[in-house]
């Protein structure tokens, strides 16, 4: 993966998580403290180093809130921090980065820097206002020790390379990614393995019937579900009638380790179905998930447009990347 794509992937993931964090405290501009919160749930080395030093999402949120209320108290303002609510980023609009947060990204991508999450964190720890260092101290961590670990645990690129989302070479309609979820594996499992809870994390499913309609050959069962016809912001999403009913199939289930869901359109038998294969692995302060996502060509459908398929390959790659990152952020959001 080139520096450019790695840096684009990093800034997309960090921007999404940081703006989600800003949204839950009623802000639409993400600042450096939201960038710090985003890094505490980063899947790669930057996140692991922060969490090892006690900067979990929960601790860092508390540290940021304590800093803000202490600073306001210092000015004689005692309203305290407004209550934080749920993440509304996906339902609202108008988000931006603050100027100083934007400068951190610029510096992390400057000549000689890798543009990855470690480079962003390195710049963030050195930000000149002192807010980040104060938050780090607030949670009982030490900036120099974190910086030491960032430098000493070696070159990140080779370690994290396998985690980059990329399509499987076998098909342009498939891809894999990894994510860190700040919740115990048992909780993540109970979300992902429960058909009734799929609408909480799979954005295209609006509702799932309470009881299964039958059993599939492989295992589990299948459930009737309805496709989403409303965007998160409440506006209508046009869905052709044949794609409104979804059949949800459980293809594999290994408690707290792996679950495989298939989403098919019973009213459009020639349409491709989707397979979402998720593996879970406990990690310090959370769970690592690996998602393999694929559009499976309907069995009886001849493969036409071979040339067109080749031409569209880069477009498919972007679509798969978007779908993978939506799944990871949907799952993460449930626990934040």
């Amino acid at each position: 993966m080139s520096k450019f794509t790695r840096s684009a992937d990093t800034s997309h993931r960090l921007s999404l998580a940081a703006m989600e964090e800003a949204s839950r405290v009623g802000l639409r501009t993400a600042d450096i403290e939201h960038l710090l919160l985003a890094l505490t749930i980063d899947r790669d080395r930057a996140g692991r180093v922060l969490r090892r030093h006690g900067l979990t999402l929960e601790a860092a949120r508390a540290g940021v809130a304590a800093q803000h209320s202490a600073q306001l108290a210092g000015l004689g303002v005692s309203v305290g921090e407004p209550d934080s609510g749920r993440i509304v980023f996906h339902e609202t609009d108008g988000y931006t980065w603050s100027d100083r947060a934007g400068r951190i990204f610029t510096a992390a991508n400057a000549r000689g820097n890798a543009g990855d999450a470690v480079a962003v964190l390195t710049e963030l720890l050195a930000e000149p206002s002192g807010l980040i260092e104060a938050v780090v101290q607030e949670v009982g961590a030490n900036r120099a020790a974190i910086e030491h670990d960032l430098v000493s645990s070696g070159s990140a690129a080779s370690i994290d390379e396998h985690a980059e989302s990329r399509p499987r070479s076998s098909s342009p309609l498939a891809g894999t990614t990894e994510g860190f979820i700040p919740a115990p594996t048992a909780e993540v499992w109970s979300l992902l393995a429960d058909p009734a809870r799929i609408p909480e994390w799979e954005p295209s499913i609006a509702s799932v019937a309470a009881s299964p309609e039958g059993t599939t050959d492989q295992l589990g069962g299948s459930w009737r579900a309805r496709a989403t016809t409303t965007r998160p912001d409440g506006t209508e999403l046009k869905v052709a009638p044949a794609f409104r009913r979804v059949r949800l199939g459980l293809l594999a289930r290994e408690p707290e380790r792996r679950v495989v869901w298939n989403l098919a359109f019973p009213d459009a038998p020639r349409a491709n179905s989707r397979t979402i294969d998720i593996t879970l692995e406990p990690e310090a302060d959370g769970t690592r998930i690996r998602i393999a996502f694929a559009w499976d060509r309907a069995g009886d459908r001849p493969r036409r447009h071979r040339v067109l398929g080749f031409v569209l390959r880069p477009a498919y790659r972007v679509i798969i990347w978007v779908q993978l990152s939506q799944l990871v952020s949907g799952i993460s959001r449930v626990f934040r």
């Binding site: 802000l27 501009t29 600073q71 108290a73 000015l75 921090e81 509304v88 104060a134 506006t235």
Partner: protein, 81 residues
């Protein structure tokens, strides 16, 4: 450093660095409160014009800033209703 120590420093103006940082906290708090008050105003049936008047800005300015940022579940009264 304890939070209370930071607060004391900002209060007695002996540490302008902490004091200046405190001002940025205040600005962020003002942004949060402004968004919540705009949403509360719309929920209470205020028009964009009434909200703009109370904020001391133009209707266009407040609409441009908040139309997409507010909770989309809020039903906005029509301009000439």
């Amino acid at each position: 450093m304890e939070s209370s120590q930071i607060a004391a420093r900002a209060a007695d103006l002996s540490d302008p660095r902490a004091g200046l940082r405190a001002v940025t906290s205040l600005r962020a708090l003002a942004d949060t409160l402004e968004l919540r008050q705009v949403e509360a105003g719309l929920l209470a049936g205020m028009s964009w014009q009434q909200i703009a008047d109370a904020l001391g800005v133009t209707r266009q300015a407040v609409h441009k800033k908040y139309a997409k940022r507010i909770d989309p579940a809020i039903v906005i009264p029509r301009r000439h209703a």
